[in-house]
Structure formats: structure tokens, C-alpha cells
């Protein structure tokens, strides 16, 4: 059984997010506009106005209310969606934590933008990093089609009885949010069918007048620890579940993305580079070019950030001579890239190979092909045993 091919339409990443959400028939949408996410709200409003989206659209006065509204809606048994970015994500921070702790299966599109501290209306992944310890599932995607598909998969994942966790779908502001590409829009009936498996699962605990529960009860001592443990266990289960859902999506819709990570030309690679988001797309072209020059480099695309796909990464990196990580954010305190520093935690399993951190693309600085060529050259040298610089802030280097 295969889904219909779907209409092809040129749309931006933001529009794709709105389409993805609309197709899943959410019961409640509450979202506040913020650059570079605003078009998501505008498109959802358009869908609501013309009847395509039959949801309760709550016009909230701010992101904090938005998250409270959608989390509560899911706890009442509904499907809910919201979208935000950077400052908005920070404004809803306490509600974001609550949503995860309450195990509210919200799906949220987060359009990556630099966080407060230095005013910037520009691309950066600091907001995703900022919220890595909220207990949410976090994934990050590469293009408009993947946004639409991943939001559908996100509802499937969030509401799964074994998971019941909110999912954040991240995509780079400006470079993907405003990027118009041809996107296949699945037919609504096919999305219904894809999500219908959720109806065959046991009913998750919800606020039901016939079976009253209290949600958000106080946690004490070992009970608190048990609930944290359950949360972590659910995050752990989310890894394989995400892979399975991705495979099912591929079998049905014809598009799959590899699940937790995608490996590009890594099998026979001497060394690899790892990155996420829009930089993956550009990296593919540079890896291809380097390959024609005889450089045996591979690329790992990180798709799932939380939970961190340790097992998959260990398998992909083991045996490689070096790895370079391009981060679009900073790890304050370790003063390197955040994804890089998480990867370093896998050293006991992957071996004591050179791991290089590259920080680039903050504040909408373009991660260009020459930048990525430089990354590959540096990692190639490290793989050959030559001295290397552990952390490179590419745009600031004197060589640039």
C-alpha cells in the first residue's frame, strides 16, 4: 500500500511546516509570531480562515501562553501544534519544561535563530542548544520537504503510547525558513492513514471527566526519581521508534531520511565530518567535490539531537581516523561547539581519534563551500597525524 505522490508546490520552509501541521489535523493551534517563524502562523491562519484547518486557533498574547495552551490541550486528549523561535522559545521556557515533565505530546516547530544576549535577527542554532536539557525530543532538518515530512513523523512519535513526549522540529531560520523549494504535499487521507496506527494503541492517560486524574502532581524523593527515570527511559525508546517511523514513512510515502542520523558516503571514508541543518546540504556538494579529487571523506547528518543518537554515531564513526564537527552554536563554559562536545563523550567507544570543533554560521554568517573545504582539509590533516587546532571559529580566523 503506497500513498499518492501528492501535489508539487513551491513553498518556503515555514509554509512547509504549516502544511505539515495542517495535514495532521491538530485540534488546537496556539502560536505567536516572531521572525523568522511568522509565516508559519500566517499560513496556519490562512488555512483556518478558509476552513482547511478545522482547529481551535487560540490567538495568544505571547509564547508562554502558547505553550501552556497547547500542552494543556494535549493533556485533554487533543492534538496540538505551535511554532516559535529563539526569544519566543525562551519566553515559554517554564512551559516548555512543564510540557516535557507532564509528558504532553506537543509538536513544535522551532525556527533556529540566535538567542538573547546579543540582539540578532539572524540564523543560529543556539536556541536548540539552549533547550537541550528540557526533556523534549529534538530533531533538526535540512530542507523544506523534510520539514513537512518530519512534522508528520513528529506527531506519530510524540503521541506514541511508548513515548508520550513533546517533539521539537528545528530548522535553520532564514536559510531554510525562507527557502522556497518544490515540495510534495501528501494527500490528507494518506496522512490520516499514516497516523491511524496511533488509534490502535492503548489510550494514553488524559484529563477525562469520567476518570478524573490530577496532572502535575507533586513529586517526592524516590517517586520523583522514578518519574525522571521513566522520562529518560522514554527518551531512550524514542531513538529506535524514530528510526522505525522513518522507515514506515519511507515505505508508505516514498521518502525517508535515515532516522536518527544519515550517513553520506561514510562506508569507505577515512574520516568524516558531522553537521546539522542547512549546512548538511552544502556539505554534500563539497564532499562530492573532494571525492572526485580522491579525498575519502564522508558526511554524517545529525537529525535527532535529543535523545543523542549515541549507538548510531558510535557505529558510524568507529574505525574512522578523525572527525570534524561543524556547530552553528557555542557551548558556553567548554568554549567549543556543543554537538562537538557531546560527541567527545563517545571517545571511549569510538577510540581516541582527533575530534575537531568548528564554529561557524552564527548570526546568519553563511557556511560557504570554501568554509567546508577548509574543515575537510583540517580534518584530513588530523587524520594523517598532523597537528591540529581543537577549536576553530572559522569566520574569525586570521586566515579568512
Amino acid at each position: 500500500m503506497k500513498a499518492k505522490q501528492g501535489e508539487l508546490k513551491v513553498m518556503t520552509g515555514n509554509s512547509a511546516a504549516a502544511y505539515g501541521a495542517m495535514l495532521c489535523r491538530p485540534d488546537v493551534v496556539a502560536s505567536y509570531p516572531i521572525t523568522p517563524q511568522t509565516e508559519v502562523v500566517e499560513q496556519l491562519s490562512r488555512f483556518h480562515a478558509d476552513g482547511t484547518l478545522e482547529a481551535e486557533m487560540i490567538e495568544v498574547e505571547g509564547e508562554n501562553s502558547a505553550m501552556n495552551a497547547v500542552a494543556a490541550a494535549t493533556l485533554a486528549g487533543g492534538r496540538a501544534f505551535t511554532a516559535t523561535s529563539s526569544w519566543g522559545l525562551v519566553y515559554m521556557y517554564d512551559a516548555v519544561l512543564q510540557a516535557a515533565g507532564f509528558r504532553a505530546p506537543v509538536v513544535m516547530a522551532n525556527v533556529n535563530r540566535e538567542t538573547p544576549g546579543i540582539l540578532a535577527v539572524s540564523s543560529g542554532q543556539q536556541d536548540m542548544i539552549q533547550t537541550r536539557d528540557t526533556g523534549w525530543i529534538q530533531v533538526i532538518v535540512e530542507n523544506s520537504q523534510e520539514i513537512l515530512d518530519t512534522i508528520i513523523m513528529a506527531f506519530r512519535l510524540a503521541e506514541d503510547y511508548d513515548i508520550q513526549l513533546p517533539v521539537m522540529v528545528n530548522y535553520d531560520g532564514f536559510y531554510i525558513s525562507y527557502l522556497a523549494e518544490g515540495v510534495r504535499i501528501p494527500a490528507r487521507e494518506d496522512v490520516d492513514r499514516f497516523l491511524s496506527v496511533l488509534k490502535t494503541q492503548p489510550q494514553r492517560t488524559i484529563m477525562d471527566p469520567t476518570r478524573p486524574i490530577g496532572a502535575g502532581s507533586h513529586g517526592l524523593m524516590t517517586e520523583f526519581m522514578e518519574l525522571r527515570y521513566r522520562h529518560c527511559a522514554a527518551l531512550d525508546r524514542a531513538k529506535k521508534k524514530f528510526d522505525d517511523i522513518d522507515k514506515d514513512y519511507g515505505d508508505f510515502f516514498g521518502r525517508s531520511y535515515g532516522g536518527q542520523i544519515e550517513e553520506y558516503r561514510t562506508e569507505d571514508a577515512d574520516f568524516v565530518i558531522l553537521t546539522s541543518g542547512s549546512a548538511v546540504g552544502t556539505s554534500r556538494t563539497v564532499v562530492d567535490a573532494k571525492r572526485t579529487e580522491g579525498v575519502k571523506v564522508g558526511l554524517i547528518k545529525l537529525r535527532m539531537f535529543r535523545p543523542f543518537p549515541q549507538e548510531k554515531l558510535i557505529k558510524a564513526i568507529k574505525g574512522k581516523k578523525a572527525i570534524g564537527v561543524i556547530d552553528r552554536s557555542v557551548n558556553f563554559g567548554w568554549n567549543c561547539g556543543p554537538i562537538y562536545s557531546e560527541l567527545r563523550a563517545l571517545t571511549p567507544e569510538i577510540g581516541n581519534i582527533p575530534i575537531l570543533s568548528f564554529i561557524d554560521g552564527l548570526a546568519s554568517i553563511d557556511i560557504t563551500k570554501p568554509h567546508i573545504e577548509r574543515v575537510i582539509d583540517d580534518v584530513a590533516n588530523a587524520a594523517k597525524g598532523k597537528p591540529y587546532q581543537a577549536v576553530t571559529w572559522i569566520p574569525l580566523e586570521e586566515r579568512e
Binding site: 544576549g117 546579543i118 568554549n335 587546532q389 576553530t392 571559529w393 580566523e397 586570521e398
Partner: protein
């Protein structure tokens, strides 16, 4: 840490505020510019009062837009009671 040379002046996102605060060269944003007909101008000052960035310069008996900052919004032309100000495309003034 590796980076030794900086182009920023301060340690954090601070900026000097002891000079005029009109520090952005917004004149380059214009697509139309106000042209004042000195004969028609009666020196009433309404254009200067209404100009949002306050960039009307007071001359002896007429007003003149400060083209370094004028964004070409056209409010002066709209408010002028004598019709002494017209908005002309920037293209007319470029070769």
C-alpha cells in the same frame, strides 16, 4: 584561545551613545527623495515637525531635507500645505 585580533571595540554588545544617535546612513534606503520648491515654501515648518527622523534642515527661508538620513517616506510632501514638496524617484538623480 586562538583569536587574537578583534574588530569590536567593547567586550560586549555595547555601543557609544555620546555622539548623535542618528548613526545609521539611512539615506541610502531611499527610492524617492523630497524636492523642495523654495518659491512655494512659506517657511511654516510643518514638514520639519512631521518628519519622523527629524531630518529637515532649517535654512534662511526654506526647509531642506538632510539627504544623509532622509528615507523618502513622503510624509513631508503629504503634509506640506502649499504643495511645495514633491517626491521624485532616486533614479532621476543617479547616472
Amino acid at each position: 584561545m586562538a583569536v587574537k585580533k578583534f574588530s569590536t571595540k567593547y567586550e560586549a554588545a555595547w555601543s557609544d551613545a555620546d555622539q548623535l544617535l542618528l548613526c545609521l546612513d539611512t539615506g541610502t534606503w531611499r527610492t524617492k527623495r523630497p524636492v523642495v520648491d523654495k518659491e512655494k515654501c512659506t517657511y511654516c515648518g510643518l514638514c520639519a515637525i512631521y518628519c519622523p527622523p527629524q531630518c529637515m534642515i532649517t535654512r534662511p527661508d526654506f526647509f531642506e531635507p538632510n539627504l544623509n538620513f532622509c528615507k523618502g517616506c513622503g510624509i513631508c510632501a503629504k503634509e506640506c500645505l502649499r504643495g511645495a514638496i514633491t517626491m521624485r524617484p532616486e533614479g532621476d538623480f543617479t547616472s
